[in-house]
């Protein structure tokens, strides 16, 4: 079965510092991969998705970026964090017509 790993589980960063969140996938190949942000335990905001290596679609213009250097690796980055970047970041994957499977998430607090 497919599994998504995310790390770290929690992160506290100062405003203006860089960010790198990593997501890796096991148990499938050529998945579509997604980064979501969830604020205050409510709705999911789609940030980026990728249908293949080096292919990134951005949904929300902001100071975040994403990269997919390998088929099963998806990275979320920022050069300078803002207070508004705080939230719960979820990586998800899917293949074909199937449902998405989610990672455990990273809780980011920007101070």
């Amino acid at each position: 079965s497919q599994t998504i790993h995310q790390w770290p589980a929690t992160l506290v960063q100062p405003v203006g510092s860089p960010l790198s969140l990593e997501c890796t996938v096991e148990g499938t190949s050529n998945p579509n991969l997604y980064w979501y942000r969830q604020a205050a335990g409510r709705g999911l905001q789609l940030l980026f998705y990728s249908v293949g290596i080096g292919q990134i679609s951005s949904e929300v213009p902001q100071n975040l970026s994403a990269s997919r250097p390998q088929d099963r690796q998806f990275i979320l980055s920022s050069k300078k964090l803002l207070l508004s970047d705080s939230g719960f970041y979820l990586c998800a994957g899917t293949q074909g017509r199937n449902e998405q499977f989610f990672g455990p998430g990273t809780r980011l607090t920007v101070l």
Binding site: G41, R42, G43, V51, R97, E99, Q100, F102, G105
Partner: protein
């Protein structure tokens, strides 16, 4: 435009009673519909899906959902609620005609099951 609506922010039900969490959707093509559950500080867990076939779909933990094309609804149900069902529930849709790569999520419904 594609969208999902979960009209209730919160649903309260007593343990042992039936529960319903509502979801309506809007897509241009055939809908692929999903329900997920989220416990605090965890990722989303898949419960069930409708792609084609029987309108009544059965999923994990005794949950089921009924696809109603005329009402564009996909309500989540369970005959007898458990306290452990208390969590945040999300409905999601993929558009069979539009950008199939994207999932559209509702805003979530918090289910509270009281003993």
């Amino acid at each position: 435009a594609q969208s999902v609506a979960q009209p209730e922010d919160q649903v309260n039900v007593a343990e042992g009673n039936p529960l319903t969490v509502k979801c309506t959707y809007s897509v241009s093509g055939n809908p692929y519909l999903f329900w997920y559950v989220q416990y605090p500080n965890r990722g989303l867990q898949f419960l069930l899906k409708y792609i084609t076939g029987d309108n009544l779909v059965k999923g994990s933990y005794g949950f089921e959902a009924e696809f109603n094309k005329s009402q564009t609804s996909f309500h989540l149900k369970k005959p007898s609620a458990l306290v452990s069902d208390s969590a945040l529930y999300f409905c999601a849709v993929r558009d069979g005609r539009g950008n199939f790569n994207k999932f559209y999520f509702g805003s979530g419904t918090k289910l509270n099951v009281k003993p």
